[in-house]
Symmetry: C2
Subunit: 149 residues, 2 copies
């Protein structure tokens, strides 16, 4: 009986391993961001810095469950491509949205908003940010009431 | 003995399913691209079209094993973010490179190059392309010799 069990475990391990080998996080966690404009754990990796050819920066942001950025706006807007997990995205005066792996969020210039992970799931996104109109404008913290509502 | 086998299969299935549920392709396959500027199967999904706010387009390209684009160049350059699989990238006069999940390739404006999947593995990437200097300039097919070398 033990033999049958071992064989079935080996068989299933061999069937699932090739799938798992290509899975897991796409990007390394990168540099843990100091808690200046967010609460919780956030890691950032820059994929390309804006320059004279590419007038936008591209970064990967990885949020642990419960982590969220402060309210902010982008003078040039920003596009978020969710690559893992489940997060929140909220624009001022609108209800909080749930955003998931494979979804794309376009933040228009000057729109006050915040985004982050849900309490139960982390979230990872690739952000592209036009650079020519200036850097992120940071506002105030997301309150617990706003986060949990 | 059969019971032990069933139990072990159920146990392993329950252990591996939560991992697999968040895995698999991030993006749907999108629209199969007609074979005008490539050989093999390539699917394209536009994540954002360039406009007056975002002066770059973002697309997902999914290549079956063996699929590759023709030689081409981008007047405004292009950045590729490999999100799945293993592919090739080659610039004119340079050796063919292997590119893998998590890697980023920056193609400078006007540089003749091609990219695609390897014969054994498909590849998926997110491409961002500055739009203001014009569209892709298509050149000639990648020969079997160039592809296999």
């Amino acid at each position: 009986m033990k033999k049958a069990l071992y064989i079935s475990i080996l068989l299933l391990a061999s069937l699932t391993t090739p799938v798992l080998a290509q899975e897991g996080p796409i990007f390394p966690k990168g540099k843990k961001s100091p808690n200046v404009h967010h609460v919780g754990n956030v890691w950032l990796t820059e994929l390309n810095a804006p320059d004279s050819v590419f007038a936008y920066g591209t970064s990967v942001a990885i949020f642990d469950p419960g982590a969220r950025l402060d309210w902010h706006s982008h003078p040039g807007g920003q596009i978020l491509i969710i690559t893992e997990g489940i997060g929140y995205y909220q624009e001022k005066g609108k209800p909080k949205q749930i955003v998931k792996r494979g979804e794309v969020v376009k933040c228009q210039p000057g729109v006050e908003h915040w985004h982050g992970a849900t309490p139960e799931s982390g979230v990872t996104y690739i952000a592209t940010s036009p650079s020519q109109k200036g850097k992120t404008i940071w506002l105030h913290k997301v309150t617990d009431e706003e986060y949990k509502k």
